[in-house]
Subunit: 363 residues, 2 copies
């Protein structure tokens, strides 16, 4: 019954390129018997990495040569204009032509979003794609969007994000009616800035399972399945969390390294400290989804290792097999979101792509 | 040489009222030989708490009776209209009349801000007061503002916040030119939403020691002394941090409580775990400053205990003795900020006060 899923991988993307992407692809092939992988990038580099891993081309694994690479600090404009044969762009092209169901890249976020928007276009009824990711919470997992694609949002954009987030969770987590929280600075309807107040009204009038306003701490309490916010607020919340986690880890390490006695205590407590560390391991949550495009695009952390990148591939496989795209389109129809704005959006897309310079590698 | 400083304390505010505020005041009197305290609230309740603590009225401690209290969930409008003899309002009145140099309250944030604005007015050149607080970072402490007073801000407001934050740190931390970071979603000047981009231009043109854009993780890295943002973003960042710290603490506890072996490990590591906990103890950072008013107002966490509330009193003492108000006024003159907008603001202040319903208890 399982349909074959093909994932195109930007093999050159990320800080480590093929050294990470190729072994991660091989690991994903072992893990998922139903998937096929196309490794996109410099043929020689990929072949070298395959042979280093004692692997070769097979019916489930092929190479698609692409002569260029997008640099990690390259501007979206430059990537769009000068890198038409980049591994990133060609991987996205494969999604566009239907040769692949999804693509995964650890390349730079701004260039990836701009290229994906330009090549794939947005879904009818979606003005702007959003970046969604999973964070651990006290009870399970919170899906949050937007995490940095859109610094300035309207209430309608937040509604579109909510629809996409809800559909993603219903598909991937198999939850029929995920709860949606609107990130705000108080629980009452009158709280917040103007955009958020209007978004609250739109969400209350929608068919979504809208919980109401949530606050920053609700992200990690797990109050709702989905937390919706603009890309500025989402990015700040995510980065602040990374900063705090890093500081807490540093403080804990410092306290354990204070003297010979505390070092002995650390030794004694090592199994627990390892279990704690594993539970918060960000690699287990790697793979942000670009939602709202006419194709599945998953962004891996640029510094991802093999374990981490293979998790991003898993995300692409899950989204492909659960039919997220089709279901988002259906949900948009239920909410009567007209695709008219979208048409306009597409015509000005080259221009808009320039705006995605405000995109920030999300981790 | 030390000048006597008088602090008016809203003795009825907070979740625990006089049970916390009175012993904290007694502790502060012991700690600071130069200060006087006025306990504002129900005379009988305060007297009862004094006698329970074997303390009495002295040349440095007096009671100022106020017949009403502002409830923790009372709206700012109601507090302004119906609670003209509340302990909160009377404590602020004492600052207005000059009988006290500062006031401290653990009462509800929205009512406190609205009342303080109404009674004290803003400083010339300041459109809106902001809430500033101290957070620990990897190297020391970060001052951050606004943390929730203003959900919608202009670039000019952010500049004003930067001036106030810079002056606060230079006074209280004795740093001549504190570094200022503008909270954003990328380090380049072109990043961010429209307001932040404009604020970046204003800050670059100012006399402040502007570092540039900072991201969420910089708050805890300690990249700059001050981090400036609008109240929506600041509140979300603060609450998100609280949520993450709470989740991490829960995970650590769960891992140590998993079985009899891990419990033994916890026992062995207890001194380190306690030191770690102490280092992150939010009570040590209690006391948010309402900056931009013609008087010093410090907001304590509503649930503060004696140790925590006395820290908020310390904050008020430090601000009073370092002449923050005068220096903010001087700095505003250096930046040529005209007090004209301020005039307009004051005339519409009853109206604006209603908007502070969006204020949220900051912790």
């Amino acid at each position: 019954m399982t349909q074959a899923i093909t994932v195109a991988i930007d093999a050159m993307g990320g800080d480590h390129g093929p050294h990470v992407t190729v072994p991660a692809a091989l690991s994903a092939l072992k893990q998922h018997s139903e998937i096929h992988i196309i490794l996109v990038g410099l043929k020689e580099a990929i072949e070298a990495e395959l042979s280093a891993n004692h692997a070769e081309i097979s019916s489930r694994l092929r190479i698609h040569h692409a002569s260029q690479q997008v640099a990690m600090d390259e501007s979206p404009q430059s990537a769009l204009k000068n890198k038409k044969d980049s591994s990133m762009r060609v991987a996205i092209n494969l999604v566009k032509t239907g040769e692949a169901n999804a693509c995964v890249s650890a390349g730079n976020t701004g260039a990836l979003m701009a290229t994906a928007r330009f090549v794939l276009k947005t879904l009818p009824g979606i003005d702007r794609p959003a970046i969604a990711a999973v964070l651990p919470n006290k009870k399970g997992m919170t899906y949050m969007l937007d995490l940095g694609a859109n610094a300035d949002c309207t209430a309608e954009h937040l509604l579109q994000f909510a629809i996409m987030g809800s559909t993603l969770v219903s598909c991937v987590e198999n939850k029929p009616r995920p709860t949606i929280g609107l990130l705000n600075i108080g629980s009452e309807d009158i709280k917040g800035n103007e955009v958020v107040k209007q978004a609250g009204e739109l969400l209350r009038a929608s068919h979504l399972n809208f919980y109401g306003n949530v606050e920053g701490d609700d992200i990690f309490k797990g109050t709702t399945d989905v937390v919706v916010c603009d890309g500025f607020v989402g990015n700040v919340a995510l980065k602040t969390s990374e900063g705090l986690a890093s500081m807490m880890a540093m403080f804990l390490t410092q306290e354990f390294k204070r003297n010979v006695f505390t070092k002995l205590m650390a030794l004694a407590a090592m199994p627990v400290l390892k279990a704690f560390k594993k539970r918060l391991d960000p690699r287990r949550y790697n793979g942000a989804s670009f939602l709202g495009l006419r194709g599945i695009v998953v962004k891996s952390h640029g510094g991802a290792d093999i374990f981490s990148f293979s998790h991003a591939i898993n995300t692409a496989v899950e989204e492909s097999s659960s039919g997220v795209l089709q279901k988002i389109t259906e949900q948009l129809e239920i909410e009567h979101l007209k695709p008219s704005t979208n048409k306009l959006e597409e015509s000005t897309l080259e221009l808009s792509a320039a705006n995605t310079t405000e995109l920030k590698a999300i981790a």
